[in-house]
């Protein structure tokens, strides 16, 4: 155990995701030895993110204003809505530059064993958004894992009665890989989702 402030810093760093006691100690001593100006910038950045950043009141993406830049942008296609689990997934889709619609961030996926059901996610807010007649298609882009698939199944069932086109991101083989190294589940999905090359 270290004295006072050093131990407090180690304890706080140790509460961060993916940071164990050894890493927390290493980071704490790096902070102690680093240039005071650099560390002031770091502490200011942490304070600013907690004070200024909130969730968009429409899509629940992170934003510094009441609504995020994507929801405010009139050039975005308002007929297509992409449903993702986390804000970082919005950035992943944005990097593709192939989607020009808007987003809805659920805030996670349905995982009963972790105590997360539909009521803990922004599903009710999604259904409220669908009262807007301009929305024609919902793209469900939850993670391609079991929780993401179950969340997509649940959403598809909820949205079936609304009469809006509901699609799911394709699953299959990664670009640049060899077929022989694909696992059975992924290869099976690739066969299920195969597309016609002619016509």
């Amino acid at each position: 155990m270290y004295e006072g402030a050093v131990q407090e810093l180690i304890d706080e760093l140790g509460r961060l995701p993916g940071v164990g006691p050894k890493s927390a100690q290493r980071i704490a001593f790096h902070i102690l030895e680093a240039d005071p100006e650099d560390m002031k910038r770091l502490s200011d950045a942490i304070r600013a993110v907690k004070e200024r950043v909130k969730f968009c009141s429409i899509c629940f993406n992170v934003s510094e204003q009441e609504t995020c830049a994507i929801c405010r942008d009139p050039r975005r296609d308002e007929t297509v809505l992409c449903v993702v689990e986390e804000s970082k997934d919005v950035m992943a889709v944005e990097r593709t530059r192939s989607f020009r619609g808007r987003y809805h961030v659920l805030g996670g996926s349905i995982n009963p064993i972790a105590g997360i059901g539909p009521d803990q996610l922004h599903i009710r807010e999604l259904l409220n958004r669908l009262s807007d007649d301009r929305i024609e298609e919902i793209i469900i882009a939850t993670d391609p894992n079991l929780e993401g698939e179950a969340t997509a199944t649940y959403l598809a069932r909820m949205l079936k009665t609304i009469g809006i086109k509901v699609t799911r991101l394709a699953s299959g083989l990664p670009v640049g890989g060899d077929l022989e190294y694909a696992d059975e589940v992924t290869l099976g999905r690739a066969f299920e989702g195969r597309r016609s090359l002619i016509g």
Partner: protein, 253 residues
């Protein structure tokens, strides 16, 4: 650090069939997988890099997958070095929300019951494997499968209820009162205060679920199924002494 010799690696590694109970995110791209195995009971292992889309093990080590895994013993956690899929139950379960939520309640219960009890590991593994496979087949009401699994899992752990003979004096049934702390039905003379009085069909259904009498269970009315589910949940919580979080999310017909 000294390199590990091939013979030492072989001594520290073992291969086992396993059911994946749940996963936790670890670090940048790893996962901790909680496995239930027939010979080693509950095993917690690190699966490195499985959250990357390029990982070959990612789809194999999803919850409810039945796999053959190669594990290396570590200080606190094992490390998964290979995994081969034997039955992808998780895929079928994720496609049906009611079955998915029931499977979660089963996995959470199995995890709790095998946390410290290594002796009943093989029996718990067989029971859970059978229940998850039946859920994935989809030909039985998932709520009935769940309640039957919960009663049998508790019985395997040493908390067998009785829904035929009185749990206090052994008088042969049928009896109409159920007392959860005592562990099943009680006769008119032994009935303590606070006992429940479910419908006779409910008591019959509970006995059928415990013994695996599926023709009787499948023919039970919806009211009896709801009432039986409440008694099973109460019995489970009484013995585990903790809330099974998944149970409140289970979708019943």
């Amino acid at each position: 650090m000294e390199p590990v010799s091939p013979s030492l690696f072989a001594a520290k590694s073992y291969r086992t069939p396993a059911l994946v109970l749940r996963t936790h995110k670890l670090g940048e791209a790893d996962r901790i997988v909680v496995l239930l195995t027939p010979e080693h009971g509950q095993v917690r292992a690190v699966a490195k890099g499985v959250r990357r889309t390029s990982s070959k093990l990612g789809a194999t080590l999803e919850p409810f997958m039945f796999v053959d895994v190669q594990l290396v013993r570590g200080r606190t956690l094992e490390v998964v070095t290979q995994a081969q899929l034997r039955a992808p139950y998780g895929q079928a379960l994720a496609a049906d929300y009611a079955r998915y939520t029931s499977a979660h309640a089963m996995a959470e219960t199995a995890e709790r019951l095998t946390e410290t009890d290594g002796e009943s590991g093989a029996a718990q593994f067989r029971l859970l494997h059978g229940a998850v496979a039946a859920l994935a087949r989809g030909d039985t009401d998932p709520g009935l499968l769940l309640d039957s699994y919960l009663l049998r899992a508790l019985a395997t752990a040493g908390w067998a209820p009785s829904f035929t003979d009185c749990v206090r004096c052994g008088a042969p049934g049928p009896h109409t009162a159920v007392n959860i702390p005592l562990g099943g039905v009680v006769c008119h003379d032994c009935r303590p205060a606070g006992s429940q009085s479910p419908a006779p069909e409910t008591v019959g259904l509970l006995a059928a679920l415990l013994s695996g009498d599926w023709s009787r269970a499948n023919g039970s009315p919806p009211g009896a199924r709801r009432e039986a589910a409440g008694i099973v949940a109460g019995y489970l919580q009484w013995h585990l002494e903790r809330v099974v979080k998944s149970l409140k999310h289970v979708e019943r017909a």
